[in-house]
C-alpha cells in the first residue's frame, strides 16, 4: 500500500457568552421552552432592523488578538443568502472576503503530548449570527425553535493548505482553542450543548502527490473524542476508497456516534451560491488603533504563558503546570493560594493530589468545593509547625472537604494535634518494647530492620498522633541503651 498524507482544515463555531443576542436584546441561554427567547428582530419580522451587540464585537476582537491575528480596522457585515426554515430572514448576517473578517492571518501554537508545539495558522476569525433549530414534533412534522436564532456566533477557520495532518493534532488544536476561549471568557466551550461546534474537513493524498485530494466535511461532532475518532475514521475511509480504485466524493458527511462511522448527508456544497453582499442595514465597524492596543493589553494571561511561568518562576514540573492551567478556575485558585503565602509546590501537591481526588469522587468543581485557598493555607501551617503529621493532615482535609470547617478548628476540637512531647513518646516506647521482648531480642541479635515494626506499634499506641521522626529516634535510643 502506498503511503498517504492527511490534511485537516478546522472550522470551529463558538457561541459567544454575551448577555444578549447579536442584533436584538433577547437573552442568550441554553435550553428552555421553544420560542421563549425571541422578539420581532430575531424572528425577522418585516421592517425590523439589526442593532449590533458591541460586547460580541469585542469578544471576537479579543479572540482574534489572542490568536495572533491581524485586525481589520474597517470591517463589514455581509449577507449570506439561502433559504432554510431555521433562518428567519432568508439570509444570515456574516462576514466574507479575505481581509474583511474582524481577525485574519493569525496562528495558534498547539502543545502536543510529546511536549512539542505545533503551529496551526488561522485564516479568519469572524462574527456572524446563529440560526434556529428544527425540531421533529412528536406527532409528526417539524417545528422551528428560534431561541438560538441570532445568538452571536464566532467562526474560527484554519488556513489553507492545512497545517493539521492527523487526528491527534486535530483534537489538540480544538482543546487548545477551547481553553483559550474559556480563558478569555468569550465562550463556555460546552460541546455537548452545542456552544462549541467543530466541523473538520478532511482529505488524503499519496505522499508522492502535490495536490490535495477531494475533501469531506464532517458534521455533528459533539465531543473531543468524536473529533479524533471522526477524523481518524475519515482518513481510513478515504485511503480505503482510493486503494479500491475509487474517487473520494467531495461532500458533507455526518458522524454517527453510536456506530463510530461517518455517513453521507447528500448535500452538494458546490451547488450553493450564497450571493454574499454587504448588508445595507449595518454600518461598517471602524476600530481605532488605540482601542485595539488597549484590548491587547487587557487580555488575560493565556494558558501557554501561564504554563511557562509556573515552570520557570514557581518551579513546577511541566506536568503539574499543565494540570493547573488546564482550567482557568484551577489556575486562579492556585494563584490565589500562592498569593496568600502558600508554597507553590506544596499548594500544587495538595491541589493535584488530595483535592483533585476528593473533587473527582464528589463530582464537584473547583468553584463549588467548600475548600477555599484559606483552608489549604491553614492545613499547610499545621503541617509546617509540626502540629499534625501527613497522615492526620489527609484525614483532617477530607473532613474539612465535607464540612467546610478550617483544619485548625477541627484539629483543636478533636485533640488530634501531633504528640511532640518526648515524655509521652518515651512512655509509649517503653510500653511497646515491654510487650515485644522477642522483637527486641531480634534487634539486639543484629536484625535491625525490625525497628520499623516497633515504630509502627508506637504510632498505633498514640493513635498515629506521635511525631514520626521523634518516635524513630526514641525507639532507636531505647533499643541501644
Amino acid at each position: 500500500m502506498a503511503s498517504y498524507l492527511a490534511s485537516v482544515g478546522m472550522e470551529v463555531h463558538a457561541e459567544l457568552s454575551t448577555n444578549s443576542k447579536m442584533f436584538c436584546r433577547c437573552p442568550v441561554a441554553f435550553g428552555g421552552e421553544p420560542n421563549t427567547r425571541v422578539c420581532p428582530i430575531c424572528l425577522g419580522l418585516p421592517g425590523t432592523l439589526p442593532k449590533p451587540n458591541k460586547a460580541a464585537v469585542i469578544a471576537v476582537l479579543r479572540t482574534a488578538l489572542a490568536l495572533n491575528c491581524k485586525i481589520a480596522m474597517h470591517s463589514i457585515f455581509h449577507r449570506k443568502n439561502y433559504f432554510y426554515p431555521d433562518l428567519p430572514k432568508g439570509y444570515q448576517v456574516s462576514q466574507y472576503e479575505e481581509t474583511n473578517p474582524i481577525g485574519y492571518h493569525g496562528y495558534l501554537d498547539v502543545p502536543m503530548q510529546d511536549g512539542t508545539l505545533h503551529r496551526v495558522r488561522i485564516r479568519r476569525v469572524h462574527l456572524e449570527e446563529d440560526t434556529g433549530k428544527l425540531i421533529h414534533l412528536p406527532g409528526g412534522g417539524s417545528g422551528v425553535d428560534y431561541n438560538r436564532a441570532g445568538v452571536p456566533l464566532m467562526e474560527v477557520v484554519t488556513d489553507f493548505p492545512p497545517d493539521i495532518t492527523n487526528p491527534e493534532q486535530a483534537k489538540e488544536y480544538l482543546a487548545t482553542l477551547r481553553q483559550i476561549l474559556i480563558y478569555l471568557g468569550v465562550c463556555d466551550g460546552k460541546m455537548e450543548e452545542g456552544s462549541l461546534r467543530c466541523e473538520p474537513n478532511i482529505s488524503v493524498r499519496k505522499e508522492t502527490d502535490e495536490k490535495l485530494g477531494n475533501k469531506t466535511e464532517l458534521k455533528n461532532l459533539n465531543s473531543f473524542k468524536s473529533v479524533s475518532l471522526g477524523v481518524a475514521f475519515e482518513v481510513r475511509r478515504q485511503i480505503a476508497t482510493i486503494e479500491a480504485g475509487e474517487r473520494v466524493v467531495q461532500e458533507t458527511r455526518g458522524w454517527n456516534e453510536a456506530k463510530e462511522a461517518s455517513y453521507s448527508m447528500r448535500i452538494k456544497e458546490a451547488e450553493n451560491d450564497y450571493r454574499y453582499f454587504p448588508d445595507p442595514d449595518l454600518v461598517p465597524m471602524e476600530f481605532e488603533e488605540a482601542f485595539i492596543e488597549e484590548l491587547r493589553a487587557s487580555l488575560p494571561e493565556l494558558p501557554h504563558v501561564k504554563r511557562e511561568r509556573y515552570q520557570s518562576s514557581l518551579g513546577l514540573s511541566p506536568y503539574d503546570a499543565g494540570v493547573l492551567t488546564s482550567e482557568k478556575e484551577l489556575a486562579a485558585y492556585f494563584e490565589e493560594t500562592v498569593a496568600m503565602g502558600g508554597d507553590p509546590k506544596l499548594v500544587c501537591n495538595w491541589m493535584t493530589g488530595e483535592l483533585a481526588k476528593l473533587l473527582n469522587e464528589s463530582g464537584q468543581s473547583i468553584t463549588e468545593t467548600k475548600i477555599r485557598p484559606s483552608h489549604i493555607l491553614d492545613l499547610l501551617k499545621l503541617l509546617s509547625s509540626g502540629s499534625i503529621n501527613g497522615k492526620t493532615a489527609k484525614s483532617v482535609f477530607a473532613e474539612s472537604f465535607q464540612s467546610g470547617r478550617l483544619p485548625s478548628d477541627l484539629v483543636a476540637e478533636s485533640g488530634a494535634t501531633q504528640i511532640s512531647d518526648s515524655g509521652a513518646i518515651d512512655a509509649a516506647v517503653q510500653k511497646v518494647l515491654g510487650a515485644h521482648p522477642d522483637i527486641v531480642a531480634k534487634y539486639k541479635s543484629g536484625q535491625t530492620n525490625v525497628i520499623g515494626f516497633l515504630v509502627g506499634q508506637v504510632m498505633k499506641e498514640t493513635q498515629g498522633r506521635a511525631n514520626p521522626p521523634m518516635v524513630q529516634q526514641a525507639v532507636k535510643s531505647a533499643l541501644e541503651t
Binding site: P40, G44, P46, G47, L49, F83, P88, Y91, P280
Partner: protein, 489 residues
Amino acid sequence: MSSHLESLVDLSAVDLGRKLRSKEVSCQEVTTAFLDRINAHDAKIGSFLALNQEECMSATKEAQQLIDSGEGGALCGVPIAVKDNISTKGLETTCASKILKGYIPPFDATVIKAVRRSGMPILGKTNMDEFAMGASTETSAYKIAHNPWDLERSPGGSSGGSAASVAARLAPISLGSDTGGSIRQPASLCGTVGFKPTYGRCSRYGLVAFASSLDQIGPFGRSVEDVAELAQVVTGYDPMDCTSRELGPISTKDLKNGSLKGTKVGIIKETLGEGTDGSVKSVFESAVSLLSQAGAQIEEVSIPSLNYGVTTYYIIAPAEASSNLARFDGIRYGPRSEGSGHVHMVEKTRAEGFGKEVKTRIMIGTYALSAGYYDAFYVRAQTVRAKMTQELNQAFSGFDVLISPTSPIPSFKLGSLMDDPLALKVLDFCTIPANMAGIPGISLNCGFTSGLPVGMQILAPQCQDEKLLQMAYCFEQTLPTILAWPDLG
C-alpha cells in the same frame, strides 16, 4: 353633515392643528369629517387598503386630552394616512401584497410611535405598488388607485394611495416611502407636496424594506409647511436603526425665514432632455422664470452620470430587494401554501404570494448578486453610484439647490404603461439620483398642463433638510397656488 364639518377637509394640516388648539373644533369632529369623506368617496379613488376607524376614534380622545392640557403640538389631533409598508401595531400591514395578507405587526414603526405620541390619529393604511415596486400603484395586489384630478389616470407610485388621499382631501396629511422617487413622483402627479428627507434622518425601523440603502420614509401634504411639520414629528436619531443619523428632528424654526434673492439655483440639464414631455418642460420653464423674477440666480448645470441612474438603480434596488424579500416564506407569518416538504412549501408560498413585478425584480436582483455576475453588475453599479454622488456634491459647490421636473410626464392613463415596463421605469429618471446620493428632495406643484399637475423637484446637499424646506417654502410663495383641489362630487 354640517357645512362647518365639510369645510374642515379643505384646511391645511397646520390650520387644522391651529383650530384644534383654539378649541374651534374637537379632535373627534376633525377625524370624523375625514372618515366620513373616505367612506363616501374612496371607492372612486382606491387610496386606502384598510381603515382604522375604531382605533382612530379612540385616539382622538387621547389627542383631545393632550390639547386640553396645553401639550398638543402643531399637528396634535390632525389625522394621518399611512402607507401600507409602514408597520402599525394591531393594524394589518400588507405592502399591498398577498404574501402579507392578514399580517398584523406586533410592534409600531419608530415613525408610527412618533405619530401616536404627537396625538395624530391614524385613519388607515394607503394603497401602493406591491412592496413599493412600481410607479403607478397598479402593481397593488388588492386594487388600483386613481388620480383625483382624473379618475382614469394613475396617481403615480409607489406611494400612490398616500398622494391621492391628500389630493382628494381624504386625509390632511400622510406618510409614504421613497426608494427611487416613490414619494416625489406621486406627489407631482397628484399636485401635492412630497418630501424625501436625507437618508438616515428618518428611522427606517418598521418600514418593510424594499432596498435598504435607498428607502426613506417621508411626508405628503398640501403645503410645504404641513410637510415640514410632519417631518419634524417623524425625523430624528433612532438607536433602533444603525443607518440613522445622529441628528435631531428636522427643525421648522426657520422655515419662513428664507429668501429667493441671491439664491443660487441650478437646473439639472440632463432632466430636460428628449425623455421629458414638452408640456412638462413648458410648465417647468414658466415656473423657472417666476423664480428668476423673484430674485433667484438660475443657471444650468450638467451632471453626466445621471444618464446611468435608472440602469444603476435597477441593479442595486432589486439586488437588495432579492435579499430583503427572502424572509417571506410562509413559515412565521403570512399565508402559507401547502406543499410536500419545506422546499416545495416555500416555493409555492412565494409563487402564489408575490405578484409579477415583484418576482421580476427578485429574479433581476438574484442574478445581479450571483457568483460570476456580482462584479459586473452589483460592484459596477456601486461604482457608478459613488460617481453620481460625487458629481452631485460637486454641483452643490456652486449652487444652493438643484431643480428639475419631478416626473418627465404628467399623470398617465391607467393601464397605458403596464405593458411597457421600460417606459414606466424611466419615470424615475429625475428622482433616482437623490436616493443614490442619500440627499433630500422635495416635489411641489409648479403648474398644470391639460388639467394635470406638474411637479418641480428641489434637491439640497446631505443633511440640509431645513434649508431645502425653507427654499421650498419660498418657491411655494412664488409659484402659482392650487386654489381648488379636485371635487369628488
